[in-house]
């Protein structure tokens, strides 16, 4: 704060008309408001700039047909608020229980107007600092030694008003429509302006360029009134239920696939839009031809002089003329407002619509510039949910935590537990944590072991891409080894042309857990933090470098990983073997025996019983334990009818022996080793 005041006063002294804030956020969409919330909670000096008069201006226009495809589940049968967020893809994170999306809409796929209303409430109920009607049109840097990052960000709005900030959070989304240019592209209507009234399409033949959700949404709307719809794009259709990526074509929009495959006139074509050309005939019909035929020819010379593909190939697929051509090609990030010195570069290949950022969401070109929200999706494009509200609400929180550590000396929040709580803390998180679940393979819970493994520190939802920098980024120490807990799909299960319904797709036995296909928790154990180099060189199919040991918790039909034998027991054995200790729980009576017969005690006795917090256990329970052969009943023994007693140290061995041969009829029903 001192620095902020100092910097603030400096501006006044120098007389420049700068309004200073520590943090500037561009865009009051979901990501911008989410960032504002965390900044506000932490008491930081921040401002959000929004070009529109209200938050969420993207949602005021898009999706054009107003149906959001993010699910809004009313009921899960559970009251756990964190778990329920796994199935609420619209809410932002806040402490305010009024701001849960299902209080705003009962629709499973809500209306976009509801989202606008929700965002307005989010900004106003939480009293977030948003400056509306301020379009940032230019961002540049001002070098300054005392600035947090060696420079200030100078933002200029449409009225030439300047703002100065130490840290810039870009949450501007991707809103510039993708356009293709080819001869005749002037006849193409854009998704952003095309009519959404089906009556305008009655009896028409329509060509849609693009194959994303917006293209299918447009088709879905007019499917019933058109002659037929053709859809053309370079890549084949990617179905989200096959790829497990929410950005691919969702089943709710795929009515056209049905009519195509049932030969109801609609159809899909693959082709490069760059090769395309459209010519208009006298009747106003649009004909598809190839750019190739138009070379050296004047398009205005009239259709008769232009070769159409069907002139040579009389069964050419798109020989029928179209009444309308609609472009639904998605959006890209607005790179235009950033000064060259910020080096905001587009990504390469299929992520060129996003700016280049590091796995910490910091721009590759400029220190102190973080990209949030949809524009940050290059980190996990076509993998996880970082481009969508239910994903970036967590990555935004992660960025906020990184900033708190970097600029305010607030280390990443963590809880310290005794080692006896190790299994429990993992089971609790994998069963309820929403950030791990939505941002699978991107955000991870980290367990940092303390010396002598008597205690551990639990950090939630850290971006695994910056795992090697953990100590620097979180302010926590990782000297004694660590566990990384993430969720993963089976390595070969998801994909554009994979059959995800094949028989025996699900794994049931814990010992085959590594072959699990559906989303399941995976725990990596490292004796020391992986280095930058190991991170860079790791196998591309793996989210992390080779660990010293790995554990998969077997996938579960109910995503409920609390089964004592199938889920918890193998996990405990894994943890025990990594730490080389015994993590079993013991009743007070066992600890009592150990205290008199062993010089060392197992952790659960050490940290429970010896500290006078032993588990006495009810009569019934001790009786069950005795019947299971895990607890010796001495109450009826006297020394005369005793079998050959063990020498010293024998009690544990005896326990081991006893539980080796218990009568466990149920065990045989679920395993096959008896065959």
């Amino acid at each position: 704060l001192g620095l902020a005041l100092y910097a603030g006063s400096l501006c006044v002294v120098s007389g420049a008309a700068f309004l200073y804030h520590d943090y500037c956020v561009i865009g009051a969409g979901p990501a911008g408001l989410q960032a504002a919330y965390f900044l506000q909670q932490a008491g930081r000096d921040y401002i959000v700039f929004e070009r529109s008069h209200a938050p969420g201006s993207f949602f005021a226009l898009y999706p054009r047909h107003r149906k959001l495809i993010s699910i809004n589940k009313q009921y899960t049968g559970k009251s756990n608020s964190e778990f329920n967020l796994r199935h609420d893809w619209n809410s932002l994170l806040s402490h305010d229980r009024r701001l849960i999306f299902r209080r705003y809409s009962r629709d499973f796929f809500p209306n976009a107007d509801t989202m606008v209303r929700y965002l307005e409430d989010f900004a106003s109920l939480l009293k977030l600092q948003v400056q509306y009607n301020t379009a940032i049109i230019h961002v540049t840097l001002e070098k300054h030694e005392q600035a947090w990052n060696g420079h200030y960000f100078i933002l200029t709005d449409q009225d030439r008003k300047n703002y100065k900030c130490s840290s810039l959070l870009v949450a501007a989304g991707t809103w510039v429509p993708n356009v293709v240019n080819f001869p005749g592209s002037e006849y193409v209507e854009g998704y952003e302006t095309v009519s959404i009234n089906p009556e305008d399409f009655t009896g028409q033949t329509v060509l849609i360029l693009g194959r994303g959700n917006s293209a299918f949404e447009t088709a879905e709307n007019i499917l019933g009134v058109t002659n037929f719809i053709h859809m053309v794009s370079r890549s084949r259709v990617r179905l989200s239920w096959a790829t497990h990526y929410v950005g691919d074509l969702r089943a709710i929009n795929n009515g056209l696939l049905d009519t195509y495959q049932l030969k109801s006139l609609d159809g899909l074509l693959e082709g490069d839009l760059e090769d395309l050309a459209i010519v208009k005939d006298q009747k106003g019909k649009l004909h598809i031809t190839l750019r190739f035929y138009l070379e050296n020819r004047n398009i205005s010379a009239g259709i008769d002089s232009i070769t159409l593909p069907q002139d040579e190939l009389d069964n050419f697929a798109t020989r029928a003329p179209y009444d309308r051509v609609i472009r639904c090609l998605g959006w890209k990030f607005d790179f235009s407002i950033y000064n060259r010195s910020l080096r905001m570069m587009p990504g390469k290949g299929n992520i060129k619509k996003y700016p280049q950022i590091k796995p910490s969401y910091e721009s590759r070109g400029t220190r102190g510039l973080f990209v949030l929200g949809t524009a940050s999706h290059s980190v996990d494009f076509r993998k996880s949910a970082g481009g969508f509200i239910h994903g970036f609400r967590y990555t935004t929180r992660a960025v906020h935590r990184l900033l708190e550590n970097r600029h305010h000396g607030v280390p990443w929040p963590s809880t310290v537990y005794p080692i006896t709580q190790l299994t429990n803390s993992i089971i609790k998180r994998v069963n309820e944590a929403s950030g791990l679940y939505q941002m699978f393979s991107v955000l991870a819970d980290i367990i940092l072991l303390r010396e002598n493994t008597t205690a551990f520190e639990y950090l939630e939802e850290y971006p695994i891409g910056v795992l090697p920098e953990l100590e620097m980024q979180t302010g926590r120490k990782a000297r004694n080894g660590l566990f990384v807990i993430i969720m993963e799909y089976g390595r070969n299960f998801s994909g554009a042309d994979k059959d995800v319904f094949y028989y025996n797709r699900a794994v049931g036995e814990a010992q085959h857990a590594w072959q699990s296909n559906f989303l399941h928790p995976v725990i990596y154990y490292y004796k020391r933090l992986p280095t930058e180099r190991e991170m860079r060189l790791h196998h591309p199919d793996w989210p992390l470098p080779r660990p010293d040991a790995i554990h998969h918790i077997v996938e579960d039909f109910l995503t409920d990983w609390t089964a004592p034998n199938a889920h918890v027991l193998p996990l405990r054995r894994f943890l025990e073997n990594c730490l080389s200790t015994d993590l079993r729980n013991f009743f007070a009576e066992s600890c009592f025996l150990f205290a008199f017969t062993h010089q060392k005690l197992p952790p659960s006795c050490q940290q429970g019983y010896v500290r006078m917090q032993g588990l006495v256990g009810s009569q019934e329970l001790r009786h069950h334990a005795v019947k299971a052969g895990l607890l010796q009943d001495y109450s009826h023994t006297d020394f005369s009818d005793d079998r050959a007693p063990d020498s010293h140290g024998g009690s544990q061995e005896q326990m081991m022996r006893d539980h080796g041969i218990p009568v466990r009829p149920l065990q045989h029903l679920v395993t096959t080793k008896d065959e």
Binding site: N431, E509, L537, R546, Q599, V610, M612, G614, S635, H648
Partner: protein, 840 residues
Amino acid sequence: MSAQKDRWVSSLVFLLFCACSIPRSGSASVQQEPSPQHYFSGLEAGKTSLAFFTPSVSPGGQPFLEQIESSAEALQDYGVSVVKVNCPREDVSRYCGKENALRKAFLFRGNRLIREFPTDALFDVNSIVANVLFALLFNEVKYIETLADLENIENVLKGKSNMVFAYVPATGTAEHRAVMEAAFVYGTIHQFVLTTEAALLKATSHDDPDVSSAWLLFCHCQRATDPAQPCRRTALAQPLTLLSIHRHLKLMGAPLVTEVAEDPEKISTVHLQLGLPLVFILSQKETYEADRRTAEFVAWQLLGKAGVALLSRDLVDLNVLHRSNVALKTPDEGMPIQYLVLEDTDEVITLVEDKNKVKQIQEDEQEEEEEDEDEKENNNQDIQDDQVVEAVSRDKKRELPLEQILVLTEENFHSSLSKAAQTVVLFYASWEAVSLAVLRSYSEVAAHLQGTPGVLLSRVNCWDWTGLCSQENVTQFPTMRIYKEGRQSVTYGGMWGTEELSSFILLSQVSCPLKLATLDEAEGFLRGEFPPELSSHLHTSLLGVFSAATSKAREAFEEAGNILSGHVRMGMYFEDDALALSRKYSVSPPALLLARNGGRSVESIALSKHSVQDMVQMIRYELLDIFPEITVPNLPQYLQLGKPFLILFSAGDISQMESEEMLKLAEGRPQQAFVACWLNLKKTPVGHGILRTYFSTPPSLPVLLWVNLHAGGQVFKFPSEQPITEMNILSWLEKLQAGLEIPSSTLSEEDWKPPLPAYDFLQMMEPSVPELSLRPGDTPAQHPPRDPRGDTAGGDTATREEPAQESTAEEEVGSPGRGLRGTAPRLAARDKQGKRHSEL
């Protein structure tokens, strides 16, 4: 398969052997030469030697000497002898001069010096062999630095011979050695080109190559005639080793398409010998030209993965369908040739790749069978060995009597707390065994305390209300708290037993310490009659007596009361007549009065320390009995003293005599160095377990033991023939201290290790993802070139990865344990013949 491998390994060894220009017999070692003169006179023309000169008094321990000695054998294979020349002390010639001795090694051919090496370039066997060969093969291996160099060489070679282009991150590495060794053998056949420039690597491979990995390309320049076109390239997909290079060159050297005119069953080609399949394109006279083109096309696609042969049907009488156009022969012996009808060349390629896949699966399966055997040994690792978890899960069908316990939720938590004067809340997680075990005791507490006014028992399931629990800062399960109106909550920190919980809840009802208003109340408190709500509760009473002048002590006492709340019955009296009380018990305030057993005896203790921590510790210590009966719940209090135990095991109550003698012993020395105590085996039957551990034959009871719990762990038994009297025990203890007694037993020193192994998923995953086994950071050059997909040269890499990955998917179908359990409750568990199916 392995036989085949052996075969080509041995053929390689043979090749190398032949390549040695001067084969010699006998084991290779460093030759010793007495002096430089002697050495130079003995040099034969054409014979190569690597010499180093050392002063006759060798400093010894030079790492270089060790390395060069171990490289002698390797160099001998290449006809290079390693010679150590002793320099006489007075010699200051060129080679023996001070600055040269042991800092340089010299490579001679005949008596001509070819190259000097600084010894720091010869840091290990790899670097020695690599550098020596590099010097010898100066003409055979061209070292280049720019892309233009490469293009020049390529252009020169076009139509003449093939080129082997290798990138190594640095010279002197194992990969560099492998390349040089290969060049030694193949240098006359192919032109070898070597670079260490990362820029060249980037220019020759697509995508983003890993500059820390070596990379080798075979450039088919012999076939290239068009000067404008670059030569076709095939990359080596494996890490660079002599064997992998040899194999690669052999495959590249084999004819692209073999023409076959005999029974395909009898055919054997390089590919089959190297364990790769052979594809036959069945041809007819009429279509020969087209078939030949197809075969060549396929052969280019499969280069390095399979061989292609053109089989003329007109010349060989084949007993197969006339429509068949492709045949596949696998290297496995006894596998019949498959004849197929395919329509597309892509199908041929997929076919070969699938074959590789099948092979992988078979290998995996074999491994799995071995695994199964392993599993049988530690079969019980999936059997529960946690007594608490097992007991709870065996008890889960029983309905718990929880009606008395209010269920709290996020909605009603705060409103409920404000309703009762005191609310007990148990925070637990419904999936967690310890929580559930405590919940069972808690339900007994509820039954026990039913009807007690002012106490409300409630519970919060943190699995349902995670937000509430984190808000209340509950991080561990279970946690029990008592919330009182307008006061800070108190967290329970004692044993999770029914009695202990009940006692805590009852004691928490009254404030701690309780302010006593009159002398009568104070006396009643000491007798255990006041306050009435605690009268049924037998407990030691602790009364603090303070005068007006001792407010500081009083504050500390109050603070200590907060900490001990629920565990100790504490009262305080600071009225004006406090002096009367202190006079009665002959103490001066501030002081504590301690009343055990309902006030029959009252001890008085002067309060000298005024810090809260000291006071808490002092109170805890004073509450301990002098000669306690050790039980499961109270042992920890005595363990904390960190002293050895003098413990009397008794079959029931101890006799009056023993009790008195022990008490005398204990009281006799107030600052004693041990805990005198006894154990009632009837009440604490687990004591039998202790005795059984100590003694092979059960001792007669009662038995008195000295147990060194904290140091050494020895257990001594008091001689049973002696009566237990203070005198006897003391003299026995003296003998113990003097080391004159032999311990009956010693406590186990064992660490608590994992009871059973875990599933080793890392090991299971490795066969299917071979890259995983390469730990980044070992040796950089072990990495295969990174993913140059989509280019002919990189084809190898991509497909090598793919079969490996596919195999996991395939294998999943076949491996056991793939029942319904994942997708639906498993109803019949006996449908697990997966593996058998895939074998049929």
